[in-house]
Amino acid sequence: MAQGWNPGGTSFWKDVWLRLEKNKPAMFGLVVVIIFSAVAIIAPLLSPADPLKTDLSNRLKPPGSPSEICSNGVYILGSDEFGRDILSRILFGARVSLSVGIISQVLVTAIGVTMGALAGYYGGKVDMIIMRIADILFAFPDLLFYIGVMFALGPSIYNVFIALALIGWAGMARLVRSQVLYLREMEYVEAARAQGLSDARIILRHILPNCMGPIIVSVTMGIPGAILAEASLSFLGLGVQPPTPSWGNMIYAARSYMLTNPWYSVWPGIAIMITVFSFNLLGDGLRDALDPRLKR
């Protein structure tokens, strides 16, 4: 073998990428996710109008109607009940949806991985207490819990993050705990103990890096769930508060005009559908790529 052959850091991730690259649906999902993220970031540049700007003389116009507030002079996707440009509101709504999805999953991962690692590594009473709390959260109907938290803390996007994280960590903790239970019996972990390394070091360096795969899949699959949960909460009037646009509260507003102006509710619906679908495709692909034994 050639001297100095070095696969450039982590050959594991290289392998994962090679497998993911071959998976067409997953790559489609990845591309859409990247496009949507880019759109969310540069929404102010793409939007033809200010998403909050009203024009009461042009209420509920169908797609393609002439507009006074849009820079291109047309309501591409129509206008809402206050004459606001629906396209601009969808673009800005992507910011809400994606940030809810990502930030809530960051919180879920932080809490869930910590709890799961502690429960799995130490076992005994620690495990018992953490997992019983997780079981209670599992037994609780999610939506009821969200509604309860939102009532207690008041509706705002920050409280949506908190509500989603408070219930979401339980699933992550279970996943991480089962991985830790398995990995803690590996001989390299025993070798680390025999070397007198600290528990923190063993968990952070020898156990957690080896369960990154399932965690990444769980995060990717958790994002669409969080987006849907935010949409449900906004639909119930408990999520993001008008006039700030979110896909959920747009559907909520559109439901009154379902019969007369059906396209109004269709646009945010399509936006949610494509985003959730793409994340799910990406998540499926990542799961296959990270665990080649699962298929074939």
């Binding site: 594991f12 001989e187 103990r193 025999a194 070397q195 007198g196 390394l197």
Partner: protein, 325 residues
């Protein structure tokens, strides 16, 4: 400096696992995995420990290192009773006693480079850092027969034998006094086995390290051990010099093990001693001598009284009623 002759002394080591049963998880009995094991290892010596699977040899070794907490027993390492050490003190002393594992695949963390695997313990205990650490890792790699440039690779780029060499380098990184070799060759090809055994012997000659060498067959420990202990159902039943155990095995169980070693000579005919029945469960070992259910020489006393491990010839201890009375 007052150098102890024995690097480690294990006295009356016991590990019982509670067996829980019923709705209330009451303790219904104990699996007596290790039931009163005593042995000692001198500096620079290799003690082989053999016995069939489940006889408690690995558990004894793990208890000795306190990787598993023993139920009872005294372990004197370098003149210190390590059963009395708290977590922090134990952590400090751990680099002095290391392990080489059986499975070269699960014993190396797949996410770390060879340098990280070998060097981690040095960095963690502040023994070496930066350039000095790299130098020591390179030196260790050369010592176990690998090349310095291997340190940037990952475990999956190596063969089983090479991985075992990395495991040996990791165990030797802190220059330990004692290394437990837990069946280090049983997962390897026969052609590789002798290479690893020779390497371990060379390293002992160079570094003066002591080994506790665990194996399930006598043929593997034959040429590496100075003394051999035979375990049966959680007890040591015979200990003596390595040559002596082949020439003059006393315990009927040891005799059966010796007769099971294949001789690479088709014309030699030897009476094989076949053991009848299975090993009794360690949950409920037979009363008296543990071996009587399968022993050809069993007499009445064997069923009633448990024989003690007594010295019946200089340096030859055996636990059997046939001798020593």
């Amino acid at each position: 400096m007052n150098q102890q002759k024995n690097i480690i002394e294990v006295q009356g080591l016991v590990k019982w696992y509670p067996v829980k049963a019923g709705v209330f998880q009451k303790v219904a009995g104990y699996i007596k995995a290790v039931d009163g094991v005593s042995f000692s290892i001198k500096r620079g010596e290799t003690l082989g420990l053999v016995g069939e699977s489940g006889c408690g040899k690995t558990t004894s070794a793990r208890c000795m290192l306190r990787l598993i907490e023993p139920t009872k027993g005294r372990i004197i390492f370098n003149g210190r009773d390590i059963m009395r050490l708290n977590r922090e003190q134990l952590r400090k002393i751990r680099p002095r006693m290391q392990v080489i594992f059986q499975d070269p695949y699960s014993s190396l963390n797949p996410r770390l480079t060879v340098k990280e695997i070998i060097g981690e313990v040095l960095a963690f205990h502040g023994i070496a850092r930066g350039k000095e650490l790299e130098k020591r890792v390179k030196h260790l790699l050369e010592m176990v027969g690998l090349a310095p440039h291997h340190m940037r690779r990952f475990p999956h780029e190596f063969s089983g034998g090479q991985r075992q060499r990395i495991g040996i380098a990791r165990a030797l990184a802190t220059n330990p006094d004692l290394v437990v070799c837990d069946e280090p060759v049983s997962a390897l090809d026969v052609s590789i086995q002798s290479q690893i055994l020779n390497l371990l012997e060379d390293l002992q000659a160079r570094l003066g390290v002591s080994y506790l060498f665990i194996a399930h067959g006598l043929n593997v420990v034959k040429h590496i051990s100075h003394r051999v202990g035979v375990m049966y159902l959680g007890k040591i039943i015979e200990v003596t010099e390595s040559d002596e155990i082949y020439r003059n095995p006393l315990h009927p169980y040891t005799q059966a093990l010796i007769s099971a070693i294949p001789i690479p000579e088709p014309k030699v005919r030897r009476r094989k001693i076949l053991l009848e029945e299975d090993v009794p469960s360690p949950l409920n070992p037979p009363e008296g001598c543990r071996f009587w259910t399968r022993c050809r020489h069993a007499v009445n006393i064997c069923r009633r009284e448990e024989p003690e491990l007594v010295e019946c010839a200089p340096g030859h201890k055996v636990a059997c009623h046939l001798y020593g009375r």
